[in-house]
């Protein structure tokens, strides 16, 4: 093409000299596909590329057809590029939304080896064999081959490449915000509404996805508002709004989600436009806004026309062309054909003409009249009325078109074909209001048969639609709507305001009723001829839509899913209505009867990083530490997460393995003394007149007669009779108890108790307070425990007579006030020492010092598990799994027969609860004393039976017990209680089989003779 310019020259001649919103004094260097170009501050990547006469910017999803820039905004389906390098790389960004900055690095996508020569383009040649849904009809034989077919398909599909380096260096933040009125969209209507609402003193947030407020006015010439050029009015409005303390202006911010109860999500691109991003600033910020009222002023999207070859680079939307000329000072072509079914495109024709391009208008209507048409004629622009472009041709950019006269309904060609050369087609198929947010919020839509679009009807949330998104395309009307909505919204939030007078608008009148022309005839038979595209990104053609209808995929949802139309990253902003109309046509139905799909979050694709925000890394989930944590760390403890708690797991000495360390700790606890940090156990302070009665109803056993200062073990059931939690509860006073729960169960148990108190037994006078973190707890266990307490300076008599098992005393240790419970989870002489949490570390170090001569050994949760298993004590959540009753555990002794009721009592009376073949708790001794059966292993009677095998149940706990000198295990086995003495087998994952004898689950000191030391 003769007028092609040297792309690297600083002043490509495609720059028009019109006044534009770029700073010609600020040239900016950037790179696209390895070649460096120059643009200006204020350019988007798209405008800068067009300024350099680069039209071919991408390849389509399926056919890999060359694609250019269609639009100038977020609806762009074609110009998707990969921005940045290394860890900063980001695929699928729309060139039309990227503000350029020095050093910007961009690449095209979905092509190999290069954009100009893409082997994938073969698909386009074979396109005829790949109609919509072809993959459902083939690749089925042989069945085994699908994975190979799929591999190829997967690599052909997918648009851009994700970053090679996965560690996103950027920071994302989130914030909550509240306002009286959120205005979504900062065009003329949005600005006017925000100003109106703000007058009342209401708190207003105004968000717009572009870097500048002003909406489509930014791309218009020859419009004046309030007696001044539109953009002068815009900047005046902005100055006034910015001065108001009750207004928050959010440019570069997309309102992408509109959820129940006026909860909206906004994505603010804080530093994306900067060449270097300050580390302390978020790249993007997610706003979670709760608005009392919402005003939607999102504008509208222009529709393409569906004619053969309409996807060639150089085929652009008319409004976009106007924007490039007026906003960016770029004239995207020199020989332009404007094709339209409405008046609006005439503005583009005039602007093209004024920018020095040759222009021909192809108007599908043969009766178009009005000031714009007159203006075009007066300018001497050639106007072909009742004509259409029936096909466009070119290699990687449109070069020529076939134009033909068409009948009134634009269904048939009615005359001779004209041939014209061109380098730009500027098309306009009418406007579709952006009803996305309204629809996300469950607002209803209605078809406007005159303006040929869906427009909002009933709203579901407290909101208003104004301006173009309400199909009020006329500026003056839009401003009046804005004032009305602003006033009403303010009033609805109890802010009174006097309606402002709408500023006068001076702009050529135009007819907003386009001609219905959904599919332009191409002179060939159905399905024949060059492809006419409906969905550019997903390569869905008009004949694909007809095919879907023919095959019975006739609901809009079926159409979308079968042809994938509207499923691209542009979410069908330019294609949905055309597809719908062509489907309606194929079904001989009216558009409203065929219906539209409901829009869902997000309005435009929204960064996952921003939605995750800072709730990642060490802020992903709170980690709770005990007051002794510092000591554990200093002494080389290994930790395990128990719920949110970090607990000392074991304390390896030197190069001890976990097993060596645990064996040492377990032995010490039975030969000398062990010290365990038990601070994480749940603790609940229970007070009130009815505290004992409450415990009676909560636990399976009886509590009324428990003496003051005495402790009792309790089992808590859900009302379905299944074990939920256990622990020791102590009576501190007549109406005062101290309950302990499992570490993991603490929060749940407190909630559980509150629920019963508040919802079932409000008559009981009981008060619950969590004191889990009020007390630090060190459990001293082992034969030397008493001696150590003596040396530590206990101030009361520890003799079993004075301080018997299952009792509690308050006293001092080395002067520290303490509550000491004589309870034991090891079967050894054991003291649970509670001190105010602030003294936890002091108590621990003090006991370690005092215990040194007596062989005190800190032990962790793993040793604790072994010690309790040696005694056959259960751990809720390990032996139990929500399907286990007290009887299953062999704990009938703890279930009161006397009490008329307790939580779970009735459920336990169901006949199946007494079935003999329920899984029951047993002990296991492996035939190989040195072998520890893996936890989770399943028992069978006959290891040689065929699959699926008859299983008895699973090993729940299994350890090597240094005190028994052999391995021990606990298991839940069907009919286990009656199987004592039987031998069972455990098929291992490696094919070997282990053998074990079923025994009583108490392996050590069955008579409990060690409890007093």
């Amino acid at each position: 093409m003769a007028f092609r310019t040297n792309a690297s020259s600083a002043q490509p001649m495609t720059r028009s000299n019109t006044a534009a919103r770029i700073d010609r004094n600020k040239p900016i260097e950037f790179t696209f596909d390895g070649r460096s170009y120059t643009g200006f501050a204020g350019d988007t990547l798209a405008s800068a590329l067009l300024a350099n006469d680069v039209h071919l910017v991408g390849r389509s999803f399926k056919y890999h057809r060359p694609r250019g820039i269609l639009s100038a905004g977020s609806e762009e389906p074609n110009a998707l590029i990969r921005l940045g390098k290394g860890a900063y790389a980001e695929p699928n960004l729309r060139a039309t939304q990227i503000e350029i900055f020095d050093g910007l690095y961009a690449e095209s996508q979905n092509r190999t080896p290069s954009l100009k020569f893409d082997i994938g383009a073969i698909n386009s040649v074979l396109g005829r064999f790949f109609p919509a849904g072809f993959y459902y009809k083939t690749f089925m034989w042989p069945a085994a081959m699908w994975m190979s077919y799929e591999h190829v398909i997967r690599h052909a599909a997918g648009l851009g490449k994700a970053a090679e380096d996965h560690n996103d260096p950027d920071r994302y933040e989130k914030t909550h915000a509240h306002c009286d009125i959120l205005v979504a969209g900062g065009g003329a209507a949005g600005l006017m509404a925000a100003m109106q609402a703000a007058q009342s003193g209401a708190r207003v947030i105004l968000a717009d996805e572009q870097n500048e407020f002003g909406g489509w006015l930014l791309g218009e010439a020859n419009i004046s508002i309030g007696g001044v050029p539109a953009l002068v009015w815009v900047s005046a409005m902005l100055t006034d709004l910015a001065a108001l303390p009750n207004v928050t202006l959010l440019p570069r911010t997309t309102v992408f989600g509109y959820m129940d109860h006026n909860y909206l999500t906004l994505n603010e691109r804080v530093t994306d436009h900067l060449p270097t991003r300050p580390a302390h600033l978020p790249r993007q910020r997610l706003w979670k806004v709760r608005a009392k009222q919402v005003i939607i002023a999102q504008g509208a999207h222009e529709r393409p026309l569906v004619f053969a070859g309409n996807d060639l680079p150089g085929v652009m939307l008319a409004g976009a062309v106007r924007t490039y000329i007026n906003r960016y000072g770029v004239c995207p072509g020199r020989r332009a054909i404007v094709v339209c079914n409405n008046d609006d495109a005439y503005r583009t024709a005039l602007d093209l003409y004024n920018a020095g391009a040759d222009v021909v208008i192809t108007d599908l209507r043969n009766d178009a009249k009005g000031p714009l048409i007159t203006a075009a004629r007066n300018a001497g622009i050639e106007i072909l009325r009742g004509h259409a472009i029936i096909a466009a041709y070119g290699n990687q950019r449109v070069a020529r078109v076939e134009i033909a006269p068409v009948d009134d309904s634009v269904t048939a060609i009615s005359g001779d074909i004209l041939h014209r050369d061109c380098d730009l087609i500027s098309m306009s198929g009418g406007l579709s209001p952006a009803v996305h947010l309204h629809s996300q919020a469950r607002g209803k839509l209605q078809w406007d048969g005159a303006k040929l679009c869906f427009r909002p009807s009933a709203t579901h949330e407290p909101s208003f639609n104004i301006g173009a998104c309400n199909a009020s395309f006329d500026l003056a009307t839009a401003l009046k709507e804005a004032i009305r909505a602003g006033t009403k919204a303010a009033a609805a939030t109890n802010h009174q305001t006097i309606a402002l007078t709408a500023p006068d608008v001076v702009s050529a009148n135009q007819n907003w009723k386009p001609l219905a022309a959904w599919k332009i005839p191409n002179g060939h038979g159905a399905g024949r001829g060059p492809k006419a595209f409906v969905d550019f990104q997903n390569d869905v053609t008009a004949s694909d839509v007809s095919l879907a209808a023919r095959e019975g995929y006739q609901s809009v949802e079926h159409l979308k899913r079968y042809t994938t139309t509207g499923m691209g990253t542009d979410q069908g902003k330019t294609s949905n209505i055309n597809a719908l109309a062509i489907l309606a046509d194929a079904l001989g139905n009216e558009i409203p009867e065929v219906g539209t799909t409901t829009f869902r979050m997000p309005y435009t694709p929204s960064s996952i990083g921003a939605i995750a925000g800072r709730d990642i890394g060490d802020l992903f989930d709170p980690v709770r530490l005990t007051r002794m944590d510092a000591w554990h760390r200093a002494n080389g403890a290994k930790f395990e997460h128990v719920g949110q708690w970090m607990r000392a797991w074991y304390y390896p000495k030197g190069d001890e393995t976990i097993h060596e360390a645990v064996n040492r700790e377990v032995k010490a606890a039975r030969t000398t003394a062990g010290l365990l940090d038990a601070s994480t156990l749940g603790k609940i302070d229970i007070r009130g007149r009815d505290a004992a009665e409450f415990l009676n109803r909560l636990y399976t056993n009886a509590w009324s007669k428990l003496g003051v200062g005495k402790c009792r073990y309790g089992l808590m059931l859900k009302d379905d009779g299944m074990v939920m939690d256990d622990g020791v509860t102590t009576r501190l006073g007549e109406n005062h108890f101290h309950m302990t729960t499992t570490t993991g169960g603490a929060a749940g148990v407190l909630d559980w108790m509150e629920e019963w108190l508040q919802t079932e037994w409000p008559d009981l006078e009981v008060y619950l307070t969590s004191v889990t973190e009020q007390w630090a707890v060190a459990t001293l266990s082992g034969p030397n425990a008493g001696k150590i307490l003596q040396d530590a300076g206990i101030d009361f008599d520890l003799s079993p007579a004075e301080f018997p098992f299952m009792s509690m005393k308050e006293g001092h240790i080395g002067g520290l006030p303490a509550r000491i419970f004589r309870i034991s989870f090891t079967g050894e002489l054991s003291y649970e020492i509670n001190v105010a949490a602030r003294h936890g570390l002091a108590l621990w170090t003090h006991l370690m010092t005092a215990g040194k001569p007596h062989g005190i050994t800190p032990y962790g949760t793993e040793a604790m598990h072994v010690l309790r298993a040696e005694k056959g004590f259960i751990i809720v959540g390990q032996e139990t799994d929500g399907s286990v009753t007290p009887h299953d555990l062999g704990m009938d002794w703890i279930v009161s027969k006397a009490k008329s009721d307790f939580i779970g009592k009735r459920a336990l009376a169901r006949e199946t609860m007494a079935y003999d073949n329920r899984k029951q708790l047993v002990g296991l001794l492996c035939s190989e004393p040195s072998t520890v059966i893996p936890e989770g292993a399943h028992a069978v009677l006959d290891p040689d039976q065929p699959m699926p095998m008859e299983m008895l149940g699973q090993v729940t706990s299994s350890y090597f017990s240094p005190n028994c000198g052999r391995s021990i295990a606990m298991a839940m086995l069907k009919g286990g209680h009656a199987r004592k003495g039987q031998t069972v087998f455990f098929p291992m994952l490696d094919g070997t089989v282990l053998k074990a004898e079923i025994v009583d689950p108490v392996f050590f000191d069955p008579k409990g003779e060690r409890i007093d030391g």
Partner: protein, 432 residues
């Protein structure tokens, strides 16, 4: 696996519907695809059917197909108030696996898995069943213990399952983060290689086309307004297209089970909850398997189109609105970024919600009712899609023979009276 399967229904399209094939595709291309015929008819309802299936989702269409193909009941109808596959069939994350803990669950999901393995050929419709493996991650000692229990049980049930360590996981899933210092480190996982995904819409369309070929009437935009009874017997269905007489009604209306049950005065132990899912923009392949993590309520795979498909846990309150609350995807995406940092710079493209019917024991109901001729298949919670063929297969058997077969037997409504539950979440709450 396609061969020697439990009665899989007849192969091909005995009803005479032209077969799909590469050859047919090429042949039709010659005529610019003008003479493809409808995948299924659009009939008006007859006055009477031998059985009526309420609900044109995957389960309902599968039930109809197997009633016709296996039990020879061809005078039946599927009635759907909207468009087929428009409910949870088209709203799930398409995960398919059979590695369940309890024997009863393993039995039905493995039955289903075997049917998946021959489905595209059975239906002559490519449902793109992709056995790319399902890997469930364990993040703590407790989860490792549960994993071991699960894998031992699964193996003894004759189902494939293997345990992977962090290094093996990294090898299998290069994009995953196995840094052991993160809050929920990848400590291990168990893999079912036969698990994977399928094209959810295709399952509904494939069953519809195959059932239609056998004479089944598929009636869309037909809403059930009532169930007509005579005493304790069902005699027909009131619909928006008039009364339809029938002696057998199978209800397979995930997301509306309680509503339809109420029409017959039946109570169900079901709560309907929103389940949210989302996809990212399509990118070139970075994940060739399915990853599930229960500790952080997140599962993820990459569709053939290139979209990252992510699912979360169930929302906390009852709803029929097919939308959930924002904190759920917020937490889920944070968890996803922890495990797959690459996601941070990708963008959410679509987000949606389905309505799942959840039972107290997280297991389904496949059952007769105390009304003769009225059957329910519901309560699949988040596990419905993977069960589609198995559920349809055993439900068809229940309707045809008026008694549950061995696989369906444990799933009667009666278990809520006896208390013999199949407590899948009690048993470590693996997200389905």
């Amino acid at each position: 696996m396609a061969q020697n399967q439990p009665d899989r229904g007849q192969r091909g399209l005995p009803g005479g519907t032209p077969r799909y094939s590469a050859f047919a595709l090429a042949k039709k291309a010659m005529n610019y695809h003008q003479d493809w015929q409808r995948a299924w008819r659009d009939p008006a309802p007859k006055a009477e059917y031998d059985a009526v299936i309420i609900g044109g989702g995957g389960h309902g269409l599968a039930t109809a197909y197997y009633l016709a193909a296996v039990h020879g009941m061809t005078n039946i109808a599927v009635i759907e108030k909207g468009w087929i596959g428009g409910g949870n069939t088209g709203r799930n994350t398409t995960i398919i696996r059979s590695n369940y803990l309890w024997d009863e669950s393993a039995a039905i999901y493995e039955h289903s898995m075997k049917l998946w393995e021959g489905m595209s050929q059975d239906l002559n419709f490519n449902v793109m069943f992709s056995q790319r493996g399902v890997l469930t991650i364990a993040h703590s000692e407790h989860e490792l213990r549960e994993m071991s229990r699960r894998v031992h049980a699964i193996r003894l049930n004759g189902i494939d399952s293997e345990i992977l360590g962090p290094a093996e996981i990294k090898k299998f899933v290069p994009t995953i983060n196995i840094d052991q210092s993160i809050r929920y480190p990848v400590m291990g996982g168990f893999l079912q290689r036969r698990g994977g995904t399928a094209r959810h819409d295709a399952v509904a369309w494939g069953y519809a086309r195959a059932a239609d070929d056998l004479g089944v009437d598929i009636i869309q935009k037909c809403e059930v307004t009532g169930l007509r009874r005579q005493g304790r017997k069902i005699v027909g269905v009131e619909t928006s297209q008039g009364f339809i007489k029938t002696k057998k009604v199978g209800c397979v209306v995930a997301g509306h089970s309680s509503v339809v049950a109420a029409m017959a005065g039946i109570r169900l132990p079901i709560a309907s909850r929103p389940l949210q899912a989302l996809v990212s923009e399509p990118i070139k392949p970075i994940l060739d398997t399915v990853i599930m993590s229960n500790a952080v309520h997140m599962y993820i795979s990459q569709s053939d189109k290139g979209e990252m498909v992510l699912g979360a846990g169930v929302d906390k309150y009852n709803s029929y609105a097919q939308r959930g609350s924002f904190p759920v995807p917020e937490h889920m995406l944070a968890a996803a970024v922890e495990l797959f940092p690459v996601l941070s710079r990708l963008r959410m493209l679509r987000h949606w919600g389905g309505i799942v019917d959840t039972c107290p024991d997280a297991s389904p109901i496949i059952s007769k009712t105390d009304i003769e001729g009225l059957y329910f298949d519901c309560g699949w919670g988040t596990g419905g899609f993977k069960a589609t063929p198995g559920s349809g297969h055993v439900f068809a058997d229940l309707i045809a023979n008026d008694r549950p077969n061995k696989i369906a037997a444990p799933y009667t409504l009666d278990r809520f009276r006896t208390g013999l539950l199949i407590d899948e979440h009690g048993a470590a709450g693996v997200a389905h």
